[in-house]
Amino acid sequence: MWNWLKTLYHRLGSPKWFYQITGKWLPWFAMSSLLLLGLGLVLGLAYAPMDYQQGNSFRIMYIHVPAAFLAQSVYMMMAAAGVVLLVWKMKMADVVAQALAPIGAIMTFISLVTGAIWGMPTWGTWWMWDARLTSMLILFFLYLGVMALREALSPQEVAAKACALLAIVGVINIPIIKYSVDWWYTLHQPASIKLTEKPAMPASMYLPLLFMVLGFYALLGWSVLLRARAEVLRREAKSGWVRELLKDK
């Protein structure tokens, strides 16, 4: 297993191999994400029972919660890719990091907007300086920072390393930011899904959520691969195999 991972890792370092193998992965990610999202949406919107307090408005959770999950984990992934780039000098890690950043930002934005829409019927106001929304807003700015830095710096290798470093610094700071914001404002609902605890919701409510979360992750894989493949072609535009590839088409 370990050796297999090592070979995979070394091969992924090669842009050509990355392009070829991910071409085979793409349909699987696409199918599983469509399937899971479809299932989750139908079950969540049509079959899950109404919430006895919030009525139907709680159903926005099926978008809000997965988006919020992704918003946070994409940043971690970006920092992990940054470590791989800085420590092992693997350039493909930067291609992935570059692909991840806007997706993470969009997910953060979606979770902010759905949070606000959810807030209107629940709190009676579009925006509330609730700890989780505020942390999310700060996370959104962190994403914008990484993207702006990449935009500003050149050449590419310098931008890559600088963004990797910034993402790593960000990951160290995220817990501090989260803690301080929680401390600053503790008037909010307790998190309703925790991996270690049994969810308080009935299965008909949380199963669709589970499907949606998995579907979002598959969607993430799909879109990251699409973006990373396009970026590989752009970066390797001068190399033989890309010219070969383009000639065929």
């Binding site: 000098k89 290798e157 001068k238």
Partner: protein, 196 residues
């Protein structure tokens, strides 16, 4: 690699004690990049650097503490006087002897300018402040990027003297220059080609 251009391919050379190596080539051939690569300011894409028979990765500190690099920009602070500038470079080598620094400045013809802020000096004089380091440094490998820029004839001659002394004492020098340095003993040349 620089801006997606391949600068060096299949380049290798050795440098031994007592040798002077002059890098030559047209503008843009990568002379400065090669020096910066050796100084550790640019990352290697491929290739290896050996220091005293060991891969550089195993003896990084030893190498960098034996190396003196002076680039296009010499790191001279305009707000500080020549003497104050040299204090810092001397501190890096653990030199506390003031007379050594005074001597250094007079050797490069800056006696009398010790306490003027460097922004009042000319380009050539600033260059001399940087090169004054060469008179007291104990580091054995010198990497000099265009050391003769902006220097007048007498200053060029005194720098050449320093180079000769250094190589005779068993030091090594790599420099880029468009100057003809034919008279220097132990001089080798490495010509970097046109970029294709």
């Amino acid at each position: 690699m620089r801006d997606e251009r391949l600068l060096f391919d299949d380049l290798s050379f050795d440098l031994y004690a007592g040798e002077l190596l002059q890098l030559e080539g047209p503008n843009g051939a990568g002379k400065t990049s090669l020096l910066r690569l050796l100084a550790g300011l640019l990352p290697f894409n491929e290739g290896e650097l050996f220091w005293q028979g060991h891969n550089i990765n195993t003896c990084r500190d030893n190498f960098y503490q034996s190396m003196l690099f002076i680039g296009h920009l010499a790191g001279i602070k305009a707000e500080l006087s020549p003497l104050e500038n040299l204090h810092w470079f001397a501190a890096l080598e653990g030199i506390k002897d003031e007379t050594l620094l005074d001597n250094a400045l007079s050797q490069v013809g800056l006696a009398g300018y010790e306490d003027q802020p460097c922004h009042q000096l000319s380009a050539g004089q600033k260059r001399r402040v940087a090169l004054a380091r060469l008179t007291f440094t104990q580091r054995s490998v010198w990497l000099l990027d265009e050391p003769f820029t902006a220097l007048d004839k007498t200053a060029v001659a005194s720098v050449e003297n320093l180079l000769i002394k250094h190589s005779q004492a068993g030091g090594a020098v790599i420099l880029t220059s468009h100057h003809a340095l034919e008279e220097l003993p132990g001089l080798k040349k490495l010509t970097l080609g046109e970029v294709t």
